[in-house]
Amino acid sequence: MKVLVAMSGGVDSSVAAALLRDQGHDVTGVTLELWGGASDSGCCSVSDVEDARRVAAQLDLPHYVFNFAEEFDARVVEPYVASYAAGRTPNPCIECNRSIKWGRLYERARTMGFDALATGHHARRTTAADGALELRRGADPAKDQSYVLAVLGADQLASTVLPVGEMTKTDVRTRAAGLGLRTATKAESMDVCFITRGGRTSFLDARVRATPGRIVDTDGTEIGTHTGVRAFTVGQRRGLAVATGARRYVVDVDAPSATVTIGSPGDLLRDRVQLGAVTSTGAPVEPGTRVDAQVRAHGAPQPGTWWGDQLVWEVPQPRVAPGQTVALYDDDRVLGAGIAL
């Protein structure tokens, strides 16, 4: 099989490429140039490209760099900025998977005649008894990345290979060390790749003028001010520069009035979450289906019932920040995802 491996310059995709090569596939490596701005972290710096190139050379694989910086800006960075400005909390890594890796790159791989696209994500693609393709959690529960792939559809799963999904991170590093790969002990990137050391707020402020506004209690009493809603996320506790004594959380962010509402943990609880942009990895999830829902990359899944466009929790849960992705699972199988409204 002719496989295009997306190589970020990290250890997981390095080993993914090595495994596919050793299985006898015709493997080509590609690294995406995604961000033209200044960033000292993440997946698109020159040194990461160089790591990927060197690993590919060590494995005797052809390697290319695709410049998707414009698409990345238009489809990931700009929506990210607009989303925060609107008082929402976007997940740019998921948007990148949807529109860049399994969008632009996936299309290009097909056009070029590759049979599959592979990545180093810790998730598994399996086949059901009826032949349907399934997306499941990675074998290493601590490193599972199925959440960030939950937006993939059946068309995308059809030509996707996830070679390290069956391995633990320790296995991956051992394998990389055994092959003598320079990425064997490389640290993982944890941050949004285009955010610089200055942090999210300064990144956003360089692009959108922040509007100062009020911080109010749930009864409308003003208890402080802020320099812009982009610094607040529903559910956030840290960084609230107000002295109230009790534990306080952001319970609402209203961008048009630049108002941030804070309240007690109880004020944050909701019995349901409404989702938009709903996708499914296979057949659409039937209304009335019992699911486990995960609302952040490493959050604990919580049970609920899916009703077509909303999820009703079995027990009330803290409000999901608008813009966040909610992934729906049946045990370790990803059913689909939607974005909290």
Binding site: E33, V49, P62, Y64, V65, F66, N67, A69, T111
Partner: protein, 389 residues
């Protein structure tokens, strides 16, 4: 170079001429001397360096003392543009810099640096055919212009620039300006001494004409002051400090001499190959389009586009079949950038992204053209077919 490769990227770098390799080897293997020293070993190096300087001067229509060896064409451009403009400001109080929108980054980045230092920097327009608009350039000149920089041959398109008309306009309107040309891409194709007659500063690079990477040269006409970029031991008349790359200079000179002596024969032969390649591709892909003024084009360049095909993708598939070509210019990561050259011509984005550069050189053969013609139309057709599911 591997026999398996069809190398159509001579504009990026040429294979070294065997004579140039032979000429440099003794200075790697046998002669340790520093040309600035005062003993027998140093004298060997010094003699070879000065002979190389004489050769370069003769071919470029300059005097030996007007040749400064550098570490690259980009370094030569930086020295000419920044060093020339700064000296003109320091001695004559001039503050204008005029260049063109499609220069090599070695010139453009240097000009942008000068802009941050307070110079007025302007970029002359490029015609849709890929040549500098001399009227537009002339309109940007005045008696405070410190430096004018116009390339001899555009590296992407291969279009030969009207340097004579540029020189005339500059002497008329900006008599005190230093006049520089980045002739890096011109050497294999045109007699630079003639093309750049009347220019004060001329930059070349060894690896574009069968010499080694890592060595360039700058003609600095007598009386043209330059502020040094690299300061130190006073080598190269104080304009470019650092021990000169003797082996590189010797090889550059050897390759330059051969390129010059064989230019008529080689360009005639290469033009036939290029024309056959162009005609064959246009016949096989009727809607393909050629970029740049073909009446003023080097014998080796073929810059063309295939509607509906992304050049980045095309180049990967060609590479997988052993054909080396390029699009745009490469950034540090190796990704293809949107070509500022094609943008400067007013080419729309879609056509720019569909365009590739096939560049032939002295090492190109009939077999290379045969291979390219056998390969490219099929790959283009594959990329245009609906994607498999």
């Amino acid at each position: 170079m591997s026999d398996a490769l069809t190398y159509l990227d001579h504009a990026a770098s040429t294979p070294m001429r065997p004579e140039a390799i032979a000429a440099m080897l003794p200075f790697l293997a046998d002669h340790p001397g520093n040309p600035s020293g005062a003993h027998a070993a140093a004298r060997v190096a010094k003699t070879a360096l000065e002979e190389a300087r004489e050769t370069v001067a003769e071919v470029l229509g300059a005097r030996p003392e007007e040749i400064v060896f550098t570490g690259s064409g980009t370094e030569a451009d930086n020295l000419a543009v920044k060093g020339g403009a700064r000296a003109a400001r320091r001695t004559d109080g001039l503050d204008g810099v005029v260049t063109t929108a499609f220069e090599h980054k070695g010139v453009l980045a240097a000009a942008h640096r000068l802009e941050r230092e307070g110079f007025r920097v302007e970029e002359a327009a490029i015609t849709p055919a890929g040549r500098v608009d001399v009227d537009d350039l002339a309109a940007r000149l005045d008696d405070r212009t410190a430096l004018v920089s116009v390339m001899g041959v555009n590296n992407e398109l291969g279009t030969v620039q009207p340097l004579g008309a540029v020189a005339t306009a500059v002497r008329e309107r900006a008599p005190r300006a230093r006049l520089h040309t980045d002739a890096v891409q011109a050497v294999p194709w045109v007699d630079v001494a003639t093309l750049a007659a009347g220019f004060d500063l001329i930059a070349i690079s060894g690896h574009k004409f069968g010499g080694p990477k890592g060595v360039g040269a700058l003609v600095v006409r007598r009386g043209i002051g330059l502020d040094a970029e690299i300061e130190g031991g006073g080598q190269e008349r104080g304009v470019r400090a650092g021990t000169v790359n003797v082996a590189g200079a010797v090889a550059l000179a050897t390759a330059l001499r051969l390129t010059h002596d064989r230019r008529a024969d080689e360009t005639a032969r290469i033009a036939l190959l290029r024309d056959r390649l162009q005609a064959g591709l246009l016949a096989a892909v009727p809607d393909a389009f050629v970029n740049g003024d073909t009446a003023h084009r080097t014998a080796g360049h073929l810059h063309l586009g295939f509607p509906g095909v992304e050049s980045e993708t095309l180049l990967v598939l060609l590479d997988q079949e052993g054909l080396c070509a390029a699009a745009g210019s490469s950034c540090s990561s190796g990704a293809t950038e949107i070509s500022h050259v094609l943008a400067s011509m007013g080419m729309d984005r879609g056509r720019a992204l569909a365009s590739v550069r096939l560049s032939l050189g002295y090492a190109s053969t009939d077999a290379d053209v045969d291979r390219a013609l056998a390969l490219i139309p099929g790959v283009v057709a594959r990329l245009r077919a609906p994607a498999r599911v």
